[in-house]
């Protein structure tokens, strides 16, 4: 692999870091390699918004190779929202362009005296004054920086005002609205006075066996283009699954407190395709093109919402106005806020208002379900940290705690839940409770497995959507696979066969792996991330679900059901080889995975 460029923003020093070959083999790249590299730095005492905190941008061995949905990168560090492991990956073109510069990653520490942005032009790095863009929104920042550097086809990754203001769910944005949204790493960048990173390169990413990779790449892209899930996401966007999620009872409404909603089909991907859709957009070399381009009748081409945005600003708020959802999503994008977290916190505010816990005195205006005007006002307040927004900017857990109602926040360990209800797809109970970054739906998108994506070649079985402990080992195995995909950094919608994925990895990295080797690599990184979190204070007690997920719906398709979390967790620890009392990976498990240092640290 190519070196990683280390940059100390305090001193301005730079150096090239070469990854040891055994780590390159064992961790491949992306979030897995980041966990290995950051392990020594991520301690309990580390303040995630201090100059010492690292911010590591990594690509994977397939990034920029025009393989199947692999034009991605990941950013990792310590989350200011959770105090735990942070990772958030992102599509667009920025990741490939970084590799074209001759680097597989950027490893940033320190804090600039004044706001700066980085301009990496091939192998040449400039630290530039960001006075012209500090305070600008993410869309404007990208545009202004491209003009300043005079390279219109450069790619700019930026934070918005939310990241500058330390909003704990601020993200990083590139290529208009492609987002590394989760875990608040935009606030970490902001704390370093780092506004943006522009990249432009010309090098080809290295491939160990290009003669093997190229034909396989073509085969994989053709297979992906013909795939049913890819067809749905191409034609309807990721919101194409909204109808099915609603049918199964896995799409939450009214801040996870209502199972059904009249006219919910007005906000589906299918409705979008039939009404406001004007085009599609794709990440680097992606044959799916899940991105939506919509027109609300004002002649402006806007980013259309994906599934999480549709549900977060739609049924979550009992809103069936699709154009309003588009506008609320754009408000978040421009401020640079993660939409899942922001919409969750707005829903929480509505919920607390309904319960009389938050009042007009706190907000200055009423909050009524379905009122998008109130929702938008809250977004402005939280991004600017004004009024009640200052409390909301700390995330759902802190916001609810401020009003003595922490149990009402639908979050795990400080990360707001995504919109896949474990009462409809029970595997998500384990996913939310054990994900290294909180209530995240991507470190295993097990809702897809519960819907049917149970790939036999991964050793996955297809269980009933509301099965309990019997699916725990399945969840663990799927987490291992997705962790390996996050090492690549491969899009979750790249629904090609696991054997094909491994073939691409072998050709790119010069390996001779089978699917089980990839799973092992994923298992290693999953356990390492767990050990990192254990070291930063995570205990067995952190593996939990919010109250809302443990209360049954009174009606709807999954009425009366709650996931048997404790039974599932017991089976999960057993499947993982983790200590059932502490929830830590056992010494033996860690050593067997080549993680003796972590074994010594968490069991000393």
């Amino acid at each position: 692999m190519q070196p990683i460029l280390k940059i100390n923003l305090t001193t301005g020093e730079t150096s090239e870091y070469v990854v040891p070959p055994e780590w390159e083999r064992d961790y491949l790249g992306g979030a897995s390699l980041a966990a290995r590299l950051l392990y020594p730095a991520l301690t309990r005492d580390l303040d995630p918004v201090s100059p010492d905190a690292p911010l590591l941008f990594l690509t994977g061995p397939l990034t920029g190779t025009a393989g199947p949905a692999v034009g991605r990168f990941v950013v990792c560090g310590k989350s200011p929202a959770t105090g735990l492991w942070a990772e958030s990956n992102c599509g667009g073109f920025w990741g490939p362009e970084l590799r074209f510069c001759g680097y597989d990653g950027l490893w940033i520490t320190g804090k600039a005296e004044e706001p700066v942005y980085l301009w990496l032009n091939g192998g040449r790095l400039e630290v530039r004054d960001a006075a012209s863009v500090w305070g600008e929104d993410t869309y404007e920042s990208q545009s202004i920086i491209k003009t300043e550097i005079g390279v219109p086809n450069a790619h700019v990754l930026t934070i918005g005002p939310a990241g500058e203001n330390g909003v704990l769910f601020a993200g990083l944005f590139c290529d208009h609205g492609r987002t590394a949204g989760r875990t608040g790493l935009g606030a970490v960048a902001g704390s370093k006075n780092l506004k943006a990173i522009a990249v432009k390169g010309t090098k080809k990413p290295p491939l160990a066996r290009p003669e093997a990779y190229m034909p396989l790449r073509g085969e994989a892209n053709r297979a992906l283009k013909a795939d049913n899930i890819a067809q749905v996401t191409h034609d309807l966007g990721t919101a194409g699954v909204a109808d099915y999620a609603d049918y199964l009872g896995s799409m939450p409404k009214k801040y996870y407190h209502q199972a059904t909603m009249e006219n919910v089909d007005r906000v589906s991907g299918a409705t979008m395709a039939e009404t406001i859709l004007k085009g599609v957009s794709a990440c680097h070399a992606c044959v799916i093109a899940c991105g939506r381009v919509v027109d609300l009748g004002d002649g402006v081409r806007r980013k259309g919402p994906e599934y999480e945005t549709v549900v977060g600003f739609g049924p979550n708020l009992l809103n069936d106005d699709l154009p309003a959802i588009v506008r609320l999503g754009e408000v978040c994008d421009r401020y640079g806020m993660d939409i899942i977290s922001a919409s969750n916190i707005v829903g929480l505010a509505f919920h607390l208002y309904e319960k009389g816990i938050v009042t007009d005195k706190d907000t200055g205006f009423p909050l009524r379900w379905g009122d998008v005007t109130g929702a938008e006002k809250l977004l402005h307040l939280m991004a600017r940290r004004e009024g009640i927004g200052n409390f909301m900017a700390g995330g759902a857990r802190r916001f609810a705690a401020r009003f003595g109602a922490e149990d009402e926040a639908v979050q795990v360990n400080g990360l707001e839940a995504a919109y896949h209800d474990p009462r409809g797809v029970s595997g998500m109970a384990l996913v939310y409770a054990t994900s290294p970054r909180g209530a995240c739906h991507n470190k295993s998108d097990y809702f897809f497995v519960d819907w049917g994506q149970a790939d036999a070649s991964l050793g996955l079985q297809f269980y009933e959507k509301q099965a309990g402990a019997e699916k725990a080992a399945n969840v663990a195995r799927h987490q291992d696979w997705r962790t390996a995909c996050d090492a690549l950094v491969m899009c979750l919608f790249a629904n090609i066969s696991p054997e094909m994925t491994v073939g691409l990895v072998n050709a790119a990295c010069g390996l001779d792996w089978a699917v089980d080797d990839m799973l092992r690599s994923g298992e290693r990184a999953w356990n390492l991330k767990r050990a990192i979190n254990n070291r930063m204070g995570l205990t067995r007690a952190n593996d939990k679900l919010p109250k809302a997920f443990l209360e049954p719906y009174a009606d709807g398709p999954v009425a009366g059901y709650v996931p048997p979390l404790e039974e599932m967790l017991a089976a999960y620890y057993s499947a993982r080889g983790w200590d059932p009392v502490t929830g830590r990976p056992t010494r033996e498990k860690l050593r067997a995975l080549g993680l003796s240092d972590a074994a010594s640290d968490i069991w000393s």
Partner: protein, 135 residues
């Protein structure tokens, strides 16, 4: 006893089932569109089979065994190998799992498909209800 799957007799039995099943009639009452099922050779099936079904408002208006598509443009074309479709018919493979793990390919309006998943699943139930012996 039901006719062996796949066979023209089985297809006719499915036609009759779809026109007599009250649950299907209710769930599929808004469905408007025809469908072609292509069964690719594998296992005991040596030649490709093409089945045509015209489905409308909870009823089946017509079924036909085709030799080729010859310009036909149905609302949906479903394609699977004989082995995989047999597993679906016998209940050993969930239809959604088949669609999501590359064992059953769907071509057609994905908007229509996603809005009508309950109809698709109940159609499969009817298929299973008339499937006993296979090749």
């Amino acid at each position: 006893m039901f006719p062996i799957f796949p066979s023209p007799e089985w297809l006719q039995t499915l036609h009759d089932k779809l026109n007599s099943d009250e649950r299907y009639a209710q769930i599929a009452r808004k469905w408007e569109g025809d469908m072609v099922v292509i069964i690719e050779p594998s296992g005991h099936l040596a030649e490709r089979l093409i089945y045509y079904l015209d489905l409308w408002h909870g009823k089946c208006r017509k079924v036909e065994v085709l030799k080729e598509l010859s310009g036909l443009k149905p609302l949906f074309i479903l394609t699977a190998t004989y082995d995989n479709i047999s597993r679906i018919m016998q209940g050993g493979l969930d239809p959604m799992q088949a669609m999501m793990t590359r064992k059953l390919q769907v071509k057609g309006s994905m908007a229509y498909m996603m809005r009508n998943v309950p109809t698709v699943l109940d159609f499969v139930r009817c298929c299973r209800d008339v499937t006993g012996e296979i090749l």
